[in-house]
Subunit: 481 residues, 2 copies
């Protein structure tokens, strides 16, 4: 593989450039002709399809149904919940013209769908029989990014899902918020092999218009935190503004309690950052579009028909047995070139088969993360492939957990706080008095904000890391993407 095709920087030396090269050269995504926007290429889209299919199945198990709401929202509707509007207005794209006509009212390109959805919910919900209303939308949203674009992490448009539910009581809404947060956590840890911290956002960091926000946060190898998903209890803030009322079994009218929650293609960005190495992407088997790449080792001076047909048969056998396999039998590329290409693209397992294997009725597996090679009897190919994919999935998770532990510090003094942040970064667990002035001062002085307030406080942290007063809250601080 020539230099300009492979990754030309080390992950440990220039993380940002390494990341951009992996995204582009593994053909996951590309920059678009509109500044700040990204094209999701087929290989990246296949990963998104796998993420979608698992989450969609789980949402449906919970009774959540899909729907589609318009991408344009009249300004008057977006404005109804004042805080929500104030939070989003700096980054809204506005449609002001249609054809040659100036519009009477500006239309916002959807930055999120609370307002447009809830103006319909108020028509659809009449009685307790209509509750709970559990909907989800797979769509794209737009938020004008003034900072520089980072594919998957920061783009002006992104693909995501947004769930929007309405319930009879606060307790039911609370439960929904946590059910979804736990579902996200399970998915991120078991499928993406990335450990996350779970907890609440502070008042300052919560979703605009929410009662409270729960969040999942991961840590990247450069020591910066990445928000992986959020689940909000919106209380009755929106239902009062949009008049979403139901007639209860008590014959009284009540406002509904609402939740909203979402994850985006940012999850793919996290996978790239956490698992990749100097050769490129490494995909956890459970989300790899190709789990096993089958490569026949053709010889120039021998007839290759038998080899080619054996490679195809093995690919078919794996596919029939539920393994996502693909046979790269292109004759215009050398085996070495193919090895490099599929390593760059992060395929977890390579199956090589050459003339000698054909004679011996064996194949050779190579594992993407360790480069370890294993010779296997042909009859055991399926069983062994599944076993090795499991090994790899578990190993990636363990490795990510080790990094996570390495990048989690518990401190008591502000000096130590600043020192760790300047050296390795990561999550810093500390006591906090709960006062916003301390939160803001820390952010201004160090660039770190409170990413998570964990559900259980650490009682050993007795003082606020900034002001020294009594710590009422345990907080995880970090610099973040």
């Amino acid at each position: 593989m020539s230099k300009d095709i492979g990754i030309t920087v080390k992950k440990s030396e220039d993380f940002s450039e390494w990341y951009n090269q992996v995204v582009l050269k593994a053909e996951l995504a590309d920059y678009a002709s509109a500044k700040g926007f990204m094209v999701l290429r087929p290989y990246g889209y296949q990963i998104w399809e796998i993420i979608q299919s698992v989450l969609d199945r789980e949402f449906k198990r919970l009774g959540v149904r899909n729907a589609y709401f318009p991408a344009l929202i009249p300004e008057s509707i977006l404005k109804r919940e004042a805080e929500h509007f104030k939070g989003f207005v700096p980054e809204v794209f506005w449609v002001t013209e249609a054809g040659d006509n100036k519009l009477n009212e500006r239309l916002a390109v959807r930055p999120t769908s609370e307002t447009i959805a809830y103006s319909s919910y108020s028509k659809w919900i009449r009685s307790w029989r209509d509750l709970p209303l559990l909907l989800n939308f797979w769509n794209s949203v737009m938020r004008a990014e003034i900072k520089s674009t980072k594919p998957f992490i920061r783009t002006s448009e992104f693909l995501w899902q947004e769930g929007h539910t309405a319930h009879a009581t606060k307790e039911e809404a609370d439960k929904m918020v946590l059910t979804i947060l736990n579902l996200y956590k399970w998915f991120i840890e078991e499928y993406l092999a990335i450990p996350v911290l779970a907890g609440c956002k502070t008042e300052r960091e919560k979703f605009v218009g929410a009662l409270y926000t729960t969040t999942l946060e991961a840590i990247m190898p450069d020591g910066k935190a990445l928000q992986m998903g959020t689940s909000h209890n919106l209380g009755q803030n929106f239902s009062k503004v949009f008049e979403i009322k139901y007639l209860g079994q008590d014959k009284q009218e009540h406002y509904v309690w609402q939740t909203s929650w979402g994850v985006s293609w940012r999850l793919i960005g996290a996978v790239i950052m956490v698992h990749g190495d100097d050769k490129g992407l490494i995909l956890p088997p459970k989300i790899a579009p190709i789990q096993v790449i089958v490569i026949p080792i053709f010889y120039k001076d021998k007839p290759n028909e038998e080899l080619a047909s054996k490679a195809k048969d093995l690919t078919a056998l794996l596919t029939e047995n539920g393994v996502r396999a693909y046979c790269d039998d292109r004759e215009e590329y050398t085996p070495g070139w193919k090895f490099n290409e599929w390593e760059l693209r992060g395929v977890p397992l390579r199956l090589e088969i050459g003339p000698r294997d054909l004679e011996n009725r064996t194949v050779t597996f190579a594992l993407r993360d360790t480069s370890e090679r294993v010779v296997v009897e042909e009859g055991a190919v399926v069983e062994k492939a599944k076993e090795l994919l499991d090994v790899l999935q578990t190993r990636l998770k363990k490795r990510a957990e080790a990094m996570f532990r390495e990048l989690c510090s518990t401190i008591e003094s502000y000096e130590e706080f600043k020192q760790i942040l300047a050296s390795k970064g990561g999550f810093i667990k500390a006591g906090w008095c709960g006062d916003q002035t301390c939160e803001v001062s820390i952010k201004e002085e160090t660039g770190a904000d409170i990413r998570v307030v964990p559900f259980e406080a650490d009682s050993s942290l007795k003082k606020c890391v900034y002001c020294g007063r009594e710590a009422k809250i345990t907080a995880y601080f970090a610099k973040a993407y």
Copy 2:
């Protein structure tokens, strides 16, 4: 069912009002708060998901992969192909502001993705090894509608898929165009149970920027034609403008040949119009989210546990055997109310089970289209359900074909042409000299345009229906949605 819940007009008496009532009352879709836009509600979305899953599977079998391109297109990119731009500019929504900032360049909300996709294709395609490039995008597009909104049929935003392929030769592109047209035709006839005419559009009616357009057209019960899907050969019009070139095996540079093709949620509109009746929607079983609705007939004065549990068991049994079944065991509604509701929603088959059935170990099926009732041994439920669903699918198709034949006329004189158009409408097959002035005159005088030029001409039609000169072309005329 109270009057305001059920359909209050007859399909034969006020087709347009009947259609709108079915859309709203079967909860397929709703009007959105932005004028001209529509909300796709969960029941409608489930139908769209079934349509998507079948087409997506077939696209992938052809080697087509999915991708996502931005929803905003810089004006300079949209303008590059002059005809294409001219065709779309009257209906483009323009983003001119982001937050408080005026943009330097207007951004078009995607009316279709040729231009933005092909500005990437020119980067991705280098050599013959990169061809064919076969991509598809599931997204939404926007075209400002000045006429009044008709859900599924005419809305300012709609969900669709758009395929965009690049090939080495014109022959390959020609083949792709027809492969997709035939796939659409098969899907529309076999799944939606709607017969269609296949053929080409005239120069005047082809896609702006295409070499030629192929189309599928159906006829609605009110005698108006509905375009169901199109597949275009774009020739080298876009590749020359966007500089999409490849180095051939002959070591020479060549421009690629391109195709694009799409179907939209309009297909759901056609299903409603063609199959529905005075009671509401009738869904062809193959695209029905619920194929069998199971309704236990509870008695007020008896214990119903056994009945409820039997109904659930039968539902599970059907589901395990690949039948989409749902049990409506709500106790707050009467069986009669439920019958009406599920008939309104077009569920093809109802399974009733009452106390007497429980004793006799039988169930009763009712067919949505004919109201025919069939008593079946409990042990034969799965087999019989599948059989009746097949019967219904075939019967709907046959009925639609009969309507299609009834609404297809072949004529020789312009008098007859106008007479038929004024009475029953439908497709009118006639000879045409090929001259655009005749095509335009007919359109202006009667409102009918040429929907399809069939692949095979009818040699019995010797004269142009308008000018009387020699007929060079056979054309199907109709008024259209």
